[in-house]
């Protein structure tokens, strides 16, 4: 299989879906760019023109809200916001409109809101507090939104296609540190389903649930611990809504121990939710308290050593695994 980059994988998903379905269009800052610099939307304008590849002003609220309107009128907008940090300016539109509109107003007439919001997340690039956020829980907490968190070029392409074809609003979160990743991606059409976790590494001793770039760190920690004879299972949920709780619970039933890694701030985070779901469904199987590795409720600082201190690292994951094994 050929190897391509993460951004190209996303770019291909957009291109192929736009070919497949004339109601798909993209909009966002600078999406009219058609040069050779790697970008998720590069070159689309050459094939699809300015009507379907709409460069926008810096008006995140209007852009996000316009997706709701366009979707109500039968289109399938894909909004490219670059950083998730900028989308705090449009949360009323996404959380309260896109997420709730069908439930509140759509009892009849087959109303649907097929929208994809692309929001890049993540730290580890010294971008400071307002350019490094990973606000997964913010969206997971809101009803009505599906949430995709790709980790490889393969699943980035497949999940993005699923997102575009889904009849509901999907927030799609690539990670800054994964955008440069390369990986095998088939030439032919395929999709990756929502709600099916991927077991990235099988293991008997402890279950680590990690999303986004945290999967990379978790796999590194698992390799390291292998040397010490610890057999770690690493589960990548791929989507947080729907969440494959079954697969996670199944793994915990096997290992009895669990660590959850989340780059986002810890309080009311995805780690808390996944943790509670395990407590609710597999309390009897738990041999030790669940460990969370996440940002201890701090903004992400700029300076490298400080950023490392705040964000999860391979070492912190290792330590958490060791602690849960010792408990």
């Amino acid at each position: 299989m050929r190897t391509i980059g993460f951004m190209q994988a996303m770019n291909e998903a957009l291109q192929e879906e736009m070919r497949r379905d004339p109601s798909v269009y993209v909009l966002g800052l600078g999406v009219h760019y058609s040069g050779t610099h790697p970008s998720v939307t590069a070159g689309l304008i050459d094939e699809f023109g300015a009507a379907r590849v709409r460069s926008t002003p810096v008006s995140e609220a209007a852009v996000a809200g316009s997706c709701v309107g366009a979707a109500l009128a039968g289109m399938r907008p894909v909004a490219q916001f670059s950083l998730a940090d900028f989308v705090f300016c449009a949360l009323d539109e996404i959380l309260c409109k896109a997420g709730k509109w069908r439930y509140t107003h759509g009892a009849e007439g087959g109303m649907s809101l097929p929208i994809v919001f692309l929001e890049t997340i993540g730290g580890y690039v010294s971008a400071a507090s307002e350019h490094s956020q990973s606000p997964l829980a913010l969206y997971a907490h809101a009803p009505g939104l599906k949430i995709a968190v790709p980790t490889t070029p393969y699943n980035a392409k497949g999940l993005l296609k699923t997102a575009i074809r889904d009849n509901n609003p999907v927030v799609f979160f690539p990670h800054k540190r994964l955008m440069g990743a390369q990986g095998p991606v088939p030439e032919e059409d395929y999709t990756v389903p929502f709600g099916q976790a991927e077991v990235r590494r099988e293991g008997r001793d402890v279950t680590v649930v990690a999303t986004s770039y945290m999967v990379t760190l978790a796999l590194e920690a698992a390799s390291k611990l292998e040397e010490q004879g610890v057999d770690t299972e690493v589960i990548d949920p791929l989507t947080l809504e729907p969440l494959d709780t079954e697969r996670i619970v199944e793994s915990v039933r096997k290992t009895g121990r669990r660590v959850v890694v989340d780059e986002d701030t810890e309080r009311c985070g995805v780690g808390a939710e996944i943790g509670m779901q395990v407590v609710e469904r597999a309390f009897d199987a738990l041999k030790a308290p669940i460990q969370r590795v996440s940002n201890p409720n701090l903004p992400v600082p700029y300076s490298r050593p400080l950023e490392q201190a705040v964000l999860p690292s391979r070492e912190k994951i290792e330590k958490a695994i060791q602690q849960t094994l010792a408990a």
């Binding site: 926008t56 008006s59 809200g65 109500l72 289109m75 409109k97 107003h105 007439g109 599906k146």
Partner: protein, 319 residues
């Protein structure tokens, strides 16, 4: 160009129906059947003039105030009222309440945040433009709503993209307890049109014919692909901010209210139609009577409808 007599009568009838609906709601309100408030459009029925220029395949986004949008587009007042009651037969199955929708008539739902519908209107117009259709979007907003950032972002975007959209400001001089002078740097909301390089026009919002004529022009412009415009209707809300008693009163000068009552858009239009002979005294009576009867039927329908079963709470989140 004056509308034909038939259309004049239709406009008049819809104004009367809108008022009759308001009066129905006002009469019901003390009975506690409408669990939340209602924002009355009494006095602002000149808006019917804007709505009457639209086609079925046009889109409308609307404010929290009044039912004219629905009645003009063909919605059933019984189903509107049922929704306000929280009944299963309401347009949102009881889930939306006064954040009403009527999907079939391209009335997709009220935004709970004012200003929230402006970007949605942009999106509707974008859809039309991408598909190369000749529908238009008419997007209503209040003077208070003109202070929201979304209104500005959206107006800018409609202008840059030359979208087929008509912004209609219902400037009634107040946003809740707050007079425009306390909240708004522009005296005329139409001033924003110039900033955004689109045609702007101020009309007497209580003169339904002037409203009709101005919006008709703007609709024609949008339909022809010439882009958006902004029409400001100077009008007034006669009732308090909301029906239901949970809002302060006594913050407006009673004389101001009285002066505007004298400019009632329905009475004014009736006088015109009578003097022109388009309408007879008998027809006036008949239209009024029919509107009242329609609302009685509506009330009966809403009263007799069932509340939704508990299971309905768990449906419809996802498509």
């Amino acid at each position: 160009m004056e509308p034909a007599s038939e259309q004049l009568l239709e406009i008049y009838t819809n104004m009367v129906r809108s008022r009759a609906f308001e009066e129905l709601v006002i009469s019901i309100m003390p009975k506690g059947k409408i669990p939340a408030g209602w924002m009355s459009g009494v006095g602002q029925e000149g808006i019917v003039g804007a709505l009457s220029g639209l086609r079925e395949d046009d889109y409308v986004t609307y404010t929290h105030r009044g039912a004219y949008y629905f009645l003009c587009r063909g919605s059933d007042p019984g189903r509107i009222l049922a929704e306000l009651y929280g009944k299963r037969t309401g347009y949102c199955g009881g889930k939306g309440g006064r954040h009403l929708a009527d999907t079939k008539h391209r009335l997709f739902g009220k935004s709970g945040t004012i200003g929230g519908h402006a970007p949605i209107a942009v999106g509707l117009a974008t859809a039309v433009q991408i598909r190369g259709e000749d529908s238009v979007v008419m997007s209503f907003f209040g003077d208070g709503t003109s202070n929201r950032g979304t209104t500005h972002e959206s107006m800018n975007l409609t202008s840059v993209w030359k979208l087929p959209l008509i912004w209609v400001c219902e400037n009634n001089g107040w946003a809740g307890l707050t007079p425009s002078s306390m909240s708004t740097a522009y005296t005329d909301v139409a001033d924003l049109a110039e900033a955004y390089s689109i045609p702007g026009r101020i009309v007497d919002g209580n003169d339904v014919l002037e409203v009709h004529e101005a919006t008709r022009e703007a609709v024609a412009r949008a339909r022809a692909g010439a882009g958006p415009s902004l029409i400001e209707l100077k009008t007034y809300r006669i009732r308090e901010f909301a029906e239901g008693g949970w809002f302060p009163t006594g913050y407006r000068d009673p004389e101001e209210v009285e002066a505007w009552k004298k400019r009632d858009p329905i009475e004014r239009f009736r006088a015109v139609l009578l003097s022109r002979g388009v309408l007879t005294a008998g027809q006036v009576e008949e239209i009024q009577q029919k509107a009242v009867e329609e609302m009685q039927v509506a009330q009966k329908f809403a009263d007799e409808s069932e509340f939704p079963p508990v299971e309905d709470a768990f449906t419809d989140l996802y498509a």
